[in-house]
């Protein structure tokens, strides 16, 4: 007869809905983690439900009487609260529109909208529950041999499969309003896990004077001590102890992070994420922690006990049942049977009995209990203790209604109950150790998978090492904390010796473990809840040749669900070993991979925003009506006046004068005795003959002769050069320069002036006239020729610039460099002075066309792996190095110089003017019977009055006058358009305008 728990005190305004909460709430006060005086209302489906401050979503629902939390993915079986640590998908729910939230660990907040997922009709009555009887049709890897015959039905089957798949539902238009943030933390010692060992480690490390960070996944410190009533020492319970430790941590110099889980660890760095909300400004925050040593004190979870229907709602872990009662004030059930494999199970049985729950029997799969006092405690309470017995089947359809216990020799016994507390024993949480590179192996002494050795600076402590004695757990934490502090240079020898001596006197890991695995029938014995994998499935997997953990995991799916393998854990490798009649020794668990706990994508990517760089004249360009383009991280003006064809801009450059923001150019000063060596190495042209006041345009090739970058090198003085790259290419050129001089013993320096120098380009036939009007120096053609480099004082000596005369767009062009802080003023002054000349700003679109007209190489569009500098028609820029060595790309150019059958860059114009209505687009292909090349860049040139372009074509099509057949993606297969190969450049072939 179940005990009725009609309460009439303890909770405010006690109504029927609180009947699951424990009446005598005050007796729980020391361990209670909810505040009975603060109610929180939230929505569950259509209903309004109340929980208490401190509840997790799942405990609030459990306290409300919800027992079925989800339906399993394949067999659609009802699933309930099994653990409180987020080990399975049982409690995944949709919360505030976010799918797959882990209700067991998520703290309840006011007004939350909680909905079950992937359910038809209701959790209790889901018509798809018939799938549970279809297990014969769904063996392991069933999809491999189904749904592909006949082939005409494959699309239909795929559609059905897709519909059945997935758990949570997401709205494509969903936008999160949450604030995701990132925080960088530096510390000496990082302690993962705020249980007794972790707290002891953190305190020991802090006492030795190093910086300590402590991460705890729950909202409070204490770990497994927090709710346990066992004795720490005479008169002190474990939960008292945990609170006094937590108080000490509070006053020590330790940075604590609650509700923070480590998701990745690597050498010297940890990534964790922290729940925020409430008083915090962020909702979730990524912590990027750099540490010098780390202590992993993550403790243990429970290994799932295997028996028929071990997934029924009403079956739960010891820790879950006990914490529900002691931390949340909820009776996990009314009448319980325990089938456990570790002492904490016995402790919980007695504890729950004392709270007023009926405990019908305690089965212990071990031959002997670890602590015989616990058995005495059970017999004092008249609870039958059945050694070597274990649950073999849970009875009941939607909830546990009874259990069959079994002993190999003595047979079976049946008990009625509505709660089956089941656990095969403890299993260490070694994920954080595994991802640091420590390889876990089976340790026969503890029966755990533990790392054979730890990487330097990584320590472990507490129950994870197999210790169970409370004092020993703490002492091991203390030792680990001291060792970690020692790694950071603190002197800890004396304290460490003392702590080790204490540890020696205390009981070590509970030895003599035998692994308990129950595999008799296994048709509905679930190894993995999330993917509905049973013992039978594993047997099938072994039969088909997948008999080791990794292949079996791939074949059956065990451990690939949202619980990240928390339920299968060590059961999977051990079962496989048992099924192929091997011993667990020598087996290995499946590989642990980050994230150790599922982390929202936005948290993982928080703070990753890549910022654009802006020119000093950005706002001036904006006023001038610029449209923008991103160019290698720089925001650059694309065109003005809403005209993507940039007609006015081009007209200004060709007829009068144009001004362009060139701040995005990479700018470097390369100087020192060996500066010229570097330039000689990376540039394909000759730099050694540059004299002060002269500049040279050259290319950087890769070792295959392909063109990577272009730049102008100007000589400032002896051993002193300035390198100006194409816009946005600065970073890459810098890196190339460093990479190719790294192992040389060259004496030179590079100063990156990209951000500190502003640059303005003036181009056009009137540019010289304008410049002359601003300076006293002589800038006439003989005095300041093409590729000259001068220092000029402008505007009555108000502004000094370094001026470079180039021919980039085929007109007289000056690049003026000045400190970035003066660029805006210079731009204003130049535009004011330019008004009289009809000056107009121009952007990237105009630049592209101007350069195309002039036949300039557009590296981004025209250079690729099939063509070298020579194929691109730039042999004039290649100065064969006498020694042949040392110039990157030189060897390739020599080798390919005489080759035939290579692709070449050509200029072309469209054959008929009729094509104007439908301009040719970049990316058209050149064909005859096969593909012979493609159009790199093509535009209609108003200046020339025709459509021009460049293409890479097979060598036999490269002769001027050749007719090219062009094919575009939107043409009919037989259609072609025609172009004629013409010599480059299209505009001013004798360079009279730019030289004049």
């Amino acid at each position: 007869m179940a005990i009725l728990l009609r309460n009439d005190n303890g909770f405010p305004k006690m109504k029927r809905r609180y009947r699951h909460r424990i009446a005598d709430i005050d007796s729980l006060r020391p361990t209670l983690r909810i505040d009975p005086s603060r109610r929180i209302s939230f929505r569950f489906g259509m209903r309004s439900v109340k929980g208490f401050h401190g509840d997790s979503v799942a405990t609030a629902l459990y306290g409300h009487g919800v027992r079925i939390f989800s339906r399993s993915i394949k067999f659609r079986r009802p699933r309930g609260l099994y653990s409180l640590n987020g080990e399975s998908a049982n409690c995944l729910m949709e919360i505030d529109g976010r799918p797959n939230e882990m209700a067991e660990t998520l703290l309840l907040e006011k007004g939350m909208r909680v909905r079950p997922q992937n359910v038809r009709f209701s959790l209790k009555r889901d018509p798809s529950g018939f799938m549970d009887r279809m297990d014969w049709a769904l063996p392991a890897g069933f999809y491999l041999s189904r749904f592909h015959k006949p082939s005409s039905l494959r699309p239909f089957f795929l559609k059905r499969i897709r519909r059945a798949a997935g758990i949570g539902r997401i709205d494509p238009d969903y936008r999160s309003e949450a604030v995701f943030d990132r925080q960088y933390i530096q510390t000496d010692v990082c302690v993962i896990g705020g249980g007794p060992a972790g707290m002891a480690a953190a305190m020991a490390a802090a006492e030795s004077g190093v910086r300590v960070v402590l991460l705890e996944s729950r909202p409070w410190l204490g770990g497994n001590f927090d709710h346990r009533t066992g004795e720490f020492e005479t008169g002190v319970n474990l939960h008292h102890r945990s609170r006094s430790l937590a108080d000490q941590v509070d006053t020590a110099s330790i940075r604590r992070f609650h509700q923070t889980v480590a998701i990745d660890l690597s050498e010297g760095a940890a990534v964790a994420f922290r729940m925020g909300g409430g008083e915090n400004l962020f909702d979730r925050r990524l912590l990027d922690i750099r540490y010098r040593s780390v202590v992993v004190a993550t403790g243990c979870t429970e290994r799932a006990l295997l028996f028929e229907h071990n997934d029924r709602p009403g079956v739960m872990q010891v820790d879950c049942a006990y914490r529900l009662a002691r931390s949340y004030g909820i009776f996990p059930g009314t009448a319980a049977v325990f089938s456990v494999g570790h002492d904490e199970g016995l402790e919980a049985a007695a504890g729950l009995h004392d709270l007023g729950m009926a405990v019908r029997a305690v089965a212990d799969c071990r031959a002997e209990p670890g602590d015989s006092k616990l058995v005495e405690a059970l017999s004092e309470r008249k609870i039958p203790y059945l050694s070597r017995w274990h649950a073999s089947e849970a009875k009941g359809k939607k909830r546990v209604e009874g259990v069959v216990l079994r002993d190999e020799k003595e047979g079976r016994q049946a008990f009625g109950c509505d709660l089956l507390v089941a656990s095969a024993g403890l299993s260490p949480v070694i994920g954080p150790l595994s991802v640091t590179g420590a390889e876990p192996a089976y340790d026969p002494e503890t029966g755990f998978y533990l790392p054979r050795s730890l990487p330097p600076g990584v320590h472990m402590a507490g129950r994870i090492t197999g210790l169970t004695h409370a004092g020993a757990v703490e002492a091991s934490g203390r030792s680990a904390g001291l060792r970690a502090a020692g790694d950071c240079g603190a002197s800890v020898e004396a304290a460490l010796q003392e702590s080790e001596a204490v540890l020696q006197t205390l009981p070590g890991p509970a030895g003599g473990k035998t692994i308990f695995l129950n595999i008799d029938k296994g048709k509905k014995t679930f190894v993995c809840f999330d993917m509905d994998v049973t013992v039978k499935h594993l047997r099938q997997s072994v039969d088909r040749g997948f008999d080791t953990p990794e292949p079996a995991k791939r074949f059956t799916g065990a451990g690939t669900g949202p619980g990240q393998g928390g339920i299968p854990g060590p059961n999977l490798p051990w079962l496989l070993a048992r099924l192929r009649e091997a011993s667990p020794e020598g087996t290995r668990p499946t590989t642990a991979r980050p994230p150790l706990v599922p982390a929202p994508l936005a948290v993982y990517g928080a703070g990753r925003i890549q910022l654009n760089r802006f020119s000093p004249v950005h706002s001036l360009l904006k006023e001038a009506g610029a449209a923008w383009d991103d160019s290698a991280g720089w925001r650059q003006a694309a065109y003005f006046d809403f005209d993507p064809a940039a007609r006015k801009e081009i007209e200004a450059v060709r007829g009068r004068i144009g001004i362009m923001d060139a701040a995005a150019q990479g700018k470097f000063r390369v100087f020192g005795p060996d500066a010229v060596q570097v330039l000689e190495r990376i540039f394909i042209g000759k730099s050694a003959d540059l004299t002060p006041g002269r500049a040279k345009h050259s290319f950087i090739c890769n070792e295959y002769g392909g063109v990577l970058y272009e730049a102008v090198t100007a000589c400032r003085g002896p051993e002193d050069y300035l390198v100006f790259t194409a816009p946005g290419m600065g970073k890459a050129v810098y890196r190339w320069m460093i990479d190719h001089s790294e192992n040389k013993d060259w004496d030179y320096r590079v100063a990156d002036l990209t951000e500190s120098l502003g640059a303005v380009r003036m181009a056009g036939p009137l540019a010289r006239e304008l410049l002359q009007g601003l300076t006293e120096s002589n800038v006439s053609n003989p005095a300041f020729p093409l590729m000259g480099f001068r220092r000029l004082r402008l505007m009555k000596e108000a502004l000094t610039v370094q001026a470079l005369r180039t021919g980039a767009v085929g007109e007289v062009t000056y690049d003026l460099y000045m400190p970035a802080s003066l660029m805006a003023a210079a731009w204003k002054a130049l535009t004011t002075a330019g008004e009289a000349f009809g000056m107009h700003p121009y952007g990237l679109k105009a630049d592209t066309l101007l350069r195309l007209e002039k036949g300039r190489l557009h590296i981004h569009r025209e250079s690729e792996n099939r063509v070298t500098l020579l194929d691109l028609g730039l042999e004039r820029h290649w100065r064969r190095n006498r020694s042949g060595a040392g110039k990157v790309g030189d060897a390739a150019l020599r080798h390919t110089a005489g080759q035939t059958g290579r692709m070449k860059r050509v200029g072309f114009r469209m054959e008929s003017a009729a094509d104007r209505d439908r301009p040719l687009q970049d990316g058209a292909i050149v064909v005859d019977d096969t593909i012979r090349g493609h159009v790199c860049l093509t535009r209609y040139s108003d200046t020339l009055g025709e459509q021009i372009g460049t293409a890479l074509v097979a060598e036999h099509l490269a002769e001027p006058g050749t007719r090219l057949n062009l094919f575009e993606h939107d043409m009919e297969p037989h259609q072609r358009r025609h172009a004629l190969v013409v010599p480059l450049p299209f505009y001013d072939p004798d360079h009279i305008r730019m030289k004049g």
């Binding site: 539902r169 999160s176 040749g545």
Partner: protein, 406 residues
């Protein structure tokens, strides 16, 4: 049970001291070559040697996307034939490889991207494989979760949809090929590491393994990212760089993304599997050796990219992350060669991140090459000596360099 059917995917086989052909690497390429050697050429005395378990490397760590929207004209017909092979393989192997013909949507973030897509679409159309260019609004019609506003770091300006592309179940492909090969007499030896290749007088004589030497006149190196190490055993240097591609998978969601979506600017490509998980792969990072180790930084960039591209995923949780080992050649096209400097020494590697989709079709031609001794015409462009001759292929749109990732 006397009449119990042997249900193993591939049979246990004794390690013989001699085989007609040895294939190093139990991945998609190696198993395909073995399968087609036995099927098309009657060469049944063949062994596949795998250091760990079959499908351990790139074959089991890719995102299982298949497509034929390549850039280089030499590779398009090969990949196109590969696409047509999948349905036939499913019938022939009698294993459901879960070929989901969902189409691939490649996004453009700039004018230059669009030009590249037009090139790919035109090339495909000319060679008979469909791709069509879309504006950004049509991209969103195909994938309603895409953010086509100006908000993302790389706004979407257009795209290309490639309907013949799709996804498969990568493990099923490996197991199916193993089954097919094994049924035809091929021996598959797992946990068998190759430690040396014995070459005498310019001819392959035997292979040293962790389980003893095996005599053979033919060796195929199809060890994915580990190929360079293996080739070196025969004194052949491969011009490959080792990289890892970070990949992640989210918790399963109901179908919301119906196509593969690829965004080169981040870079990030993603699709929703038949199980409902969102799989994504992102920026590759250099590694000194072949590795399956994940790095936090590229993974964080990938997560960020995914939320920029598909902002509804911000609160969706990453469940697993891993890294795919990748061997990248300078031109991103593979090395397929044989009988070059060493008689009986064959190479099928350097696939970078294109290895999965090319597996069966290249295995078919590789088998022809190994059995007949003459290189099939369509494999000629991929010879190893193209690097010595500086005749690179046009698979990538930019010249080989190592500019820092932006």
């Amino acid at each position: 049970m006397l009449f119990k059917r042997d249900r193993r995917f591939w049979k246990r086989a004794p390690l013989q001291s001699e085989y007609d052909a040895i294939i190093i690497g139990g991945g998609v390429h190696g198993l395909s070559a073995a399968f087609f050697l036995a099927r098309n050429h009657g060469m049944k005395n063949v062994a596949v040697l795998e250091k760990r378990y079959i499908g351990y490397g790139g074959s089991g760590r890719n995102t299982a996307i298949v497509r034929a929207n390549q850039r280089a004209p030499e590779t398009i017909p090969l990949y196109a034939e590969g696409l047509k092979l999948w349905p036939r393989l499913i019938s022939e192997l009698n294993v459901n490889l879960l070929f989901f013909n969902c189409g691939v949507l490649t996004l453009a973030h700039s004018e230059a991207d669009l030009a590249e897509l037009r090139l790919a679409a035109a090339s495909g159309k000319f060679l008979g494989i469909e791709s069509r260019i879309l504006d950004s609004r049509s991209c969103r019609e195909l994938a309603p979760a895409l953010d086509i506003s100006d908000r993302p770091r790389h706004p979407i300006v257009g795209g290309m949809f490639h309907p013949p592309g799709g996804t498969l179940r990568h493990d099923a492909v490996v197991w199916g090929l193993a089954k097919g090969a094994s049924r035809r007499g091929v021996h598959i030896h797992q946990n068998t590491e190759v430690t040396g290749i014995d070459v005498q007088g310019g001819t392959v004589k035997s292979v040293e393994t962790s389980r003893g030497p095996i005599r053979t006149p033919r060796v195929l190196v199809a060890a994915g990212a580990w190929s360079a190490e293996i080739a070196e055993m025969a004194g052949v240097a491969l011009p490959v760089r080792m990289m890892t591609a970070p990949a992640l998978v989210t918790q399963p969601l109901k179908p919301f993304l119906n196509h593969v979506v690829s965004a080169g600017a981040y870079p990030c490509y993603t699709n929703q599997t038949l199980k409902g998980e969102v799989v994504a792969c992102g920026p590759m990072v250099f590694r000194p050796r072949a590795s399956t180790q994940t790095d936090a930084e590229p993974l964080q960039r990938l997560s960020w990219a995914l939320t920029e591209l598909l902002p509804c995923l911000t609160g969706v949780k990453m469940m697993r992350a891993w890294a795919g080992p990748v061997d990248l050649t300078p031109d991103m096209a593979p090395v397929i060669d044989g009988h070059d400097s060493i008689q009986g020494f064959f190479l099928d590697c350097g696939w970078g991140d294109f290895g999965f989709k090319s597996g069966p079709v290249v295995g078919k031609y590789m088998a022809q090459f190994m059995a007949e001794g003459k290189k099939p015409k369509n494999l000629i462009p991929f010879s190893l000596n193209r690097f010595q001759e500086y005749r690179l292929l046009g698979e990538a749109s930019t010249p080989h360099g190592y500019s820092p990732a932006e």
